[in-house]
């Protein structure tokens, strides 16, 4: 059942083309029951023990698809299915019925299964496969408006970066499974101590982190996320803020029990997280596009969650539960949930503004307060939550974040500096939040592409409900915490907490005038000052030269790679079959020689070898001479006659080696062949000698000689080493009794291997038909060619 539900969106997607054909109304109405079913189903798991289900995929390699619902997986699953409902509802009003909706919803459903698969997989292979499914779905959705160059480039960039990370992560997974001998993450966790002993420990650590950082848009890999904003807004709200970009966070959380045995894991994650937090919030203020601001904001918030997980890993490392920062994992997940609510709502609002005014450029917007009062209210509440202003849910988790970072000063390298940095980043967070609202709704109204008016209620429902959920979290934070988050924390830090009730954190809105509150107050005051003077210092951003940005670096790497690979493949893929054969034969002979040598096949013995008669010597000389003449021949007649000589020599060899049937057949066939050669090639040019460049000639000689040598050594090895007894004696014994014949070769052909001979005749017949066809088609084909010229 669990697995069926997991694949339900994917299966349903298969029916979309049919529904599109026969169904009436907006396609979204047919799709929306899916996330509702998922949400209801996953809700029924709240408070239950971990559930596990699997089906085998490649049993010999222990590869399987599986679904494991522990606290962490359940939290993410509910997030994916729950936000999915709102996004789908919103998309019904956002996307026009005339668009390619079946494709849109197909990709979205594919993503849903992929993402659920990522967070529920216990097998690393399953995790990786679903991970790539999400990357791929994201690629398709970003490129949804594929006529648009920006969409295409954005899709390409996200694919390059996330697939790169995915492959790195796969490498890490394979190292882990190689060390532990299992594909299951649970079993790996049980062997965490053994993994730490491995010499590849740090390699696996770096590889898995690369996967997580690329997917979760950490510096310096974040550059794909702002460009992903070319996707339709429901996609940005869903994949690129609430769910997919959190897959990296999920992987970090999931692998913390394995890697937290060293301080490196926690330190790297915390530092990268903090850098991303500062970087994202700093550049968010620079953006001109509403969705661009939100994209950088997402980058920064992902960094914040990441840094808290880093601190959480350090807690697991030190095993110290005396300080408050033991609850870093809790704070991270709590903020993850809050972020999904307010960022989802804000993306939807950005979409609404775009929808109603025709632009997302903040320089063209302004003064919309009077025409869009409801939108303003919703946006305002969302941004205040994002800025971490009391009394909104963003504030609750932001305060936990401050507390965590303040108290973990000693644990982190340069702890005080780190804290100063995140406090500064919070000021920027406050500024871009305010900049987002004020730039859109306050100030002077400009002329817009469309005449603005309040959004229809259908569009507004989803963001409003998301905000209401946020408010419920504000008033009942501990309900959410107890039901979902604490159990997830147990999954991340199993060594610290045995059960959800051990996570003794209690969230409350008001702590009195604590240090954290004063920090927040400072953020608000300085933030307001910053926004008021924004016009004066915002142009500073433009001073940074364009050629020193990460985007330029990415473009250069791509274009250099593109050019050099094109050059290389033109060099190798010449389209000349001769060259391909040269390389293939050369490789095969080298490989064969190597294997023969490695397996000790060159132990020759000539036991039982027959003696050389004078006639044999003559035949050998004639055969070799004939072959040399074929090689050297400059006219076709010489070559064909020399080939005949070679063939008759072979026939005489058959006579010498007591094979009369072969000799007869060979004589007949050789005669017919020579006649055929002469007949068919009466029209070909007389000269067959070719001019060739010296360089190619030597390579050709070398390859031919090495093939010849290989075959010779192979033949000698095959003769010398009889690994198995011959089965010929069976035929010798039974041929008279069972088949009633004396000529063993003939009886084998027509009796023991009668079907083989039948098919051989069939092959000849087919070849004959093909020849006939080729000769008959002569006229027509020739004419067509002439006409085209």
């Amino acid at each position: 059942m669990q697995l069926f539900i997991l694949f339900l969106p994917f299966l349903f997607a298969l029916f979309l083309p049919l529904i599109k054909k026969w169904g009436k109304g907006h396609l979204g109405y047919y799709v929306i029951p899916i996330p509702i079913i998922l949400t209801v189903y996953y809700s029924s798991f709240i408070g239950k023990e971990t559930q596990y289900e699997s089906i085998s995929w490649i049993s010999a390699l222990q590869v399987k698809f599986d679904s494991q619902l522990d606290g962490l997986s359940l939290l993410f699953s509910l997030l994916i299915s729950g936000i999915g409902i709102f996004v789908l509802f919103y998309s019904i009003f956002y996307l026009n019925k005339k668009e390619r909706l079946h494709q849109f919803y197909m990709y979205l459903l594919m993503f849903m299964t992929g993402m659920l698969g990522v967070v529920q997989a216990d097998s690393v292979i399953s995790l990786y496969v679903f991970w790539e499914v999400t990357s791929f779905a994201s690629f398709l959705l970003i490129g949804y408006y594929y006529e648009d160059r920006i969409s295409k480039d954005g899709a390409f960039k996200s694919l390059m970066i996330t697939i790169f990370g995915g492959l790195m992560m796969l490498g890490g997974f394979l190292i882990l499974s190689n060390v532990t001998g299992t594909m299951s993450i649970r079993e790996m966790t049980a062997q965490a101590a053994q993994i730490e002993q491995s010499s590849l420990f740090y390699v696996a650590l770096v590889l898995i982190l690369l996967g997580a950082f690329t997917k979760s848009a950490q510096v310096p890999f974040y550059i794909w996320l702002p460009d992903a904003m070319a996707a339709p807004t429901p996609v940005s709200a869903y994949l690129h803020s609430a769910t997919m970009v959190k897959a990296g966070i999920y992987v970090v959380a999931r692998f913390t029990p394995i890697f937290a045995a060293t301080a490196v894991w926690g330190n790297v994650i915390a530092i990268v997280g903090v850098v991303t937090l500062c970087w994202g919030s700093f550049f968010a203020v620079k953006q001109k596009d509403l969705k661009g601001i939100l994209a950088f904001s997402t980058v920064s918030q992902l960094g914040m969650i990441m840094s808290m997980l880093g601190v959480a890993a350090l807690v697991s490392y030190t095993n110290d539960t005396s300080t408050f920062y033991q609850f870093a994992a809790f704070a991270a997940l709590f903020h993850l949930v809050n972020h999904a609510t307010f960022k989802g709502a804000l993306f939807m609002m950005a979409g609404i503004i775009d929808h109603e005014t025709g632009t997302r450029d903040i320089r063209k917007l302004g003064g919309l307060l009077s025409v869009m009062p409801v939108s303003f209210t919703v946006t305002m509440l969302g941004t205040l939550s994002m800025a971490g202003v009391p009394p909104f849910n963003g504030f609750l988790s932001k305060e936990l974040f401050f507390m965590t970072m303040w108290q973990s000063k000693e644990a982190l390298p340069l702890g005080t500096l780190v804290f100063a940095a995140i406090w500064l980043a919070s000021i920027f967070t406050f500024m871009y939040s305010l900049y987002f609202v004020c730039g859109t709704f306050l100030g002077k109204r400009h002329t817009l592409p469309k005449r603005p008016h309040e959004a229809p209620i259908g569009l507004l429902v989803a963001p409003i409900v998301l905000l209401i959920i946020g408010l419920i979290i504000v008033f009942r934070p501990n309900v959410v915490a107890d039901l979902l988050i604490k159990r997830a924390v147990v999954s991340i830090q199993p060594t610290l907490f045995e059960s959800a009730s051990d996570v003794g954190v209690h969230v409350s809105l008001w702590h009195g005038f604590s240090a954290e509150f004063l920090w927040t107050l400072g953020v608000i005051v300085l933030g307001i000052l910053g926004v008021l003077t924004l016009k004066k210092w915002q142009p500073m951003y433009e001073k940074w030269p364009e050629k020193w940005t990460l985007n330029t670096l990415f473009n250069q790497v791509i274009s250099i790679g593109d050019a050099s690979f094109t050059k290389w493949s033109r060099h190798v893929m010449t389209g000349k079959s001769r060259q391909y054969f040269t390389f293939m034969l050369g490789m095969v002979s080298m490989l064969l020689l190597f294997v023969l040598w490695k397996k000790g096949a060159f132990a020759f013995s000539w036991e039982g070898a027959s003696t050389i008669h004078i006639i044999d010597g003559l035949l050998v000389v004639t055969l070799v001479a004939g072959t040399i003449i074929v090689l050297k021949a400059t006219t076709r007649m010489t070559a064909i006659i020399a080939l005949g000589v070679v063939g008759y020599c072979v026939a005489l060899f058959f006579v010498r080696f007591q094979a009369p049937d072969l000799a007869l057949t060979q004589l007949v066939i050789e005669t017919v062949s020579v006649a055929l050669f002469l007949l068919v090639f009466r029209n070909l040019p007389k000269k067959i000698k070719e001019e060739q460049k010296q360089k190619g000639k030597w390579l050709r000689l070398l390859v031919s000689a090495s093939v010849g040598l290989t075959v010779m050594l192979f033949a000698m090895a095959a003769y010398s080493q009889k690994l198995l007894p011959t089965i010929s004696s069976y035929y010798k014994e039974t041929v008279l009794k069972e088949a009633g014949g004396g000529n063993i070769v003939n009886v084998i052909l027509v009796d023991y291997r009668g079907f083989d001979t039948l098919f051989e005749i069939t092959v000849l017949a087919i070849a004959g038909l093909a020849i006939l066809g080729l000769l008959r088609s002569k006229k027509r084909k020739g004419d067509a060619r002439d006409e085209s010229k």
Partner: protein
């Protein structure tokens, strides 16, 4: 004798590959013909050449010095098949020359790489 035959087979393969890597269509077909000769002798040699009598029962009695019948049966099939292949290749080569007016293999490829 086996040693000499191994060397001869190696030489036949060398000649066959050398011809098959040439530019001329006829030489390529000659190469495949020589290749099949080499392969047939290879199968025969691998089984040993020590037989002193053909693998035919004399009055229902088998001779201890009889040649191995199995490789011979295999080769018999192979000879006929290789004749079929050679014949087909010949006609293809002939038709190609008629259509393309060239017997140089490099002239036959598509021109997509000559931009």
């Amino acid at each position: 004798m086996e040693f000499v035959m191994c060397a001869v087979i190696g030489f036949l393969f060398f000649a066959a590959v050398y011809l098959m890597l040439s530019r001329n269509v006829l030489r390529i077909i000659l190469g495949t013909a020589i290749l099949s000769h080499g392969a047939h002798l290879l199968i025969l040699t691998m089984g040993g050449l020590g037989g002193e009598k053909p693998p035919v029962l004399q009055d229902g009695v088998k001779n201890a010095m009889m040649a191995d019948p199995l490789p011979q049966a295999l080769i018999l099939t192979a000879i006929v098949i290789s004749f079929g292949v050679t014949a087909l290749l010949l006609v293809i080569g002939y038709r190609t020359y008629q259509t393309a007016k060239t017997d140089k293999i490099d002239d036959l490829k598509e021109d997509e790489f000559h931009e």
